[in-house]
């Protein structure tokens, strides 16, 4: 479904992604793991066709995605209705006057009929526990509610590939659990970025680990990564600090 070949990206003379190669097939659930600033958001934005690589290529369903691709409105329509992205801050995603309109926004652009839109919106508002806000402006919601609304809004158009940038970062533990369950029930391809190692196994089976030097350090099954302490230290995903157990004072690496 997704193929990225020898892709590099820089900004203002700084490298943000270095020689990225990866393939993602239909229905795969990928976790993009790495510390802040390693290039996770940039990689997701490239996969969403928002920015374009300086060198290397990104293919979606065999089509090369670059700025020329988007010059054709038909291409834009087909890409934007199958690949969606949840931004790290939900604030930037919500721009409709009511919660209902926010979720309906995508389907209205696709010229679905109002009856079908209404059914789908009500269903999603119900699933995400937002029904009571349907007529409120989105900016009156709390952080966690905004996150869920943004997710409902992008899922409404039944996309094939969902990119999520740190979806857990702004949520309290209860909402985190709810969102994990919601994502788990979706039968679609997801790429979820996180810097939280303990969260990774809940978000997908396959993990792609980005290093602080902006390269792929590991690509494979999550559990064997969790047992590879050397690699985790290299990616700075584990920390050590001193702590005391009764009278013994020692330090070791932590995965939490």
């Amino acid at each position: 479904m997704v193929e990225i070949k020898n892709l590099s990206f820089g900004y203002n003379g700084k490298t943000i992604l270095r020689n990225i190669n990866l393939k993602i097939s239909e229905r795969e659930r990928v976790v993009l793991l790495g510390v802040n600033g390693c290039g996770k958001s940039t990689l997701l934005k490239i996969m969403n066709g928002l920015i374009f690589a300086e060198s290397g290529e990104f293919f979606f369903r065999g089509l090369l995605i670059n700025s020329d691709y988007f010059k054709n409105p038909e291409n834009r329509r087909s890409f934007r209705s199958s690949v969606v992205m949840l931004f790290q801050s939900p604030d930037v995603m919500l721009f409709n006057p009511t919660v209902y309109d926010e979720v309906a926004f995508g389907m209205r652009q696709m010229k679905k009929d109002e009856k079908e839109i209404k059914e789908r919106v009500e269903e999603l508002l119900n699933t995400f526990g937002l029904t009571k806000y349907r007529e409120s402006p989105p900016f009156e919601l709390s952080g966690g509610e905004k996150q869920k609304l943004a997710l409902a809004a992008i899922l409404a158009i039944r996309p094939n590939l969902v990119l999520l940038d740190e979806p857990m970062a702004n949520l309290d533990p209860k909402s985190q659990g709810e969102v994990i369950d919601l994502l788990y029930e979706l039968d679609i391809t997801t790429v979820i970025s996180t810097h939280n190692l303990s969260m990774a196994p809940e978000l997908g089976e396959r993990t792609i680990l980005l290093s602080e030097s902006h390269e792929i350090l590991y690509d494979g099954e999550i559990n064997s990564l969790l047992n590879n302490e050397e690699l985790l230290i290299k990616a700075n995903l584990v920390h050590r600090h001193r702590h005391r157990h009764k009278e013994i004072d020692h330090t070791h690496y932590h995965k939490h």
Binding site: L50, R77, F87, S89, D91, V92, F95, Q109, I154
Partner: protein, 182 residues
Amino acid sequence: MKERIKLLLYLSAVLLLTIIHSEIFYLALLLILIISDLSFFRRSFKRILFSFIVFNVVISLSYLLFTFFRSDIDTGYILLINLRVLTITCLTFFFASHTNLPLALSFSETFSYLFTLSYSQIQNYIRTYSDLKEAHASRIIVREKTHIKILIERVINLFFTKSLYNAKETSLAMRSRGFLDG
């Protein structure tokens, strides 16, 4: 104190650059600047050039055309003005990146606070603004004219709310850190 001396030096240099009309003087200053931090100018060359290139090219070309029709082509002016603009712009970029600006502007403590608070929020807003535009682009399936209006409304809505909220939070934080109301 050191930063304020840098500010004073910078301002005097700018003044000199607009009082002395000599290409040699501009060139000499430019060379000294560039040699003093080669890697900085190699990195920032594009940014420096882009900051004035459009204006200067328009003025230079139209002036050339203007003197051409008067049949006394004046290339001396073109050289003088472009060298001066280039030197002052390089100097400003050099100064801004080699100086702690809040300290340099701390002749008034209040102004220095105001500068720091404003600039840090501006940096934050620039990031959010570019995310907002990308998120908007990401959700637009079919382009329509009304979408730009929606985007503008959203920008104003979001940043107005953010500004009111930040004003209140900063005010609380300042009080919590013992800022005395004068």
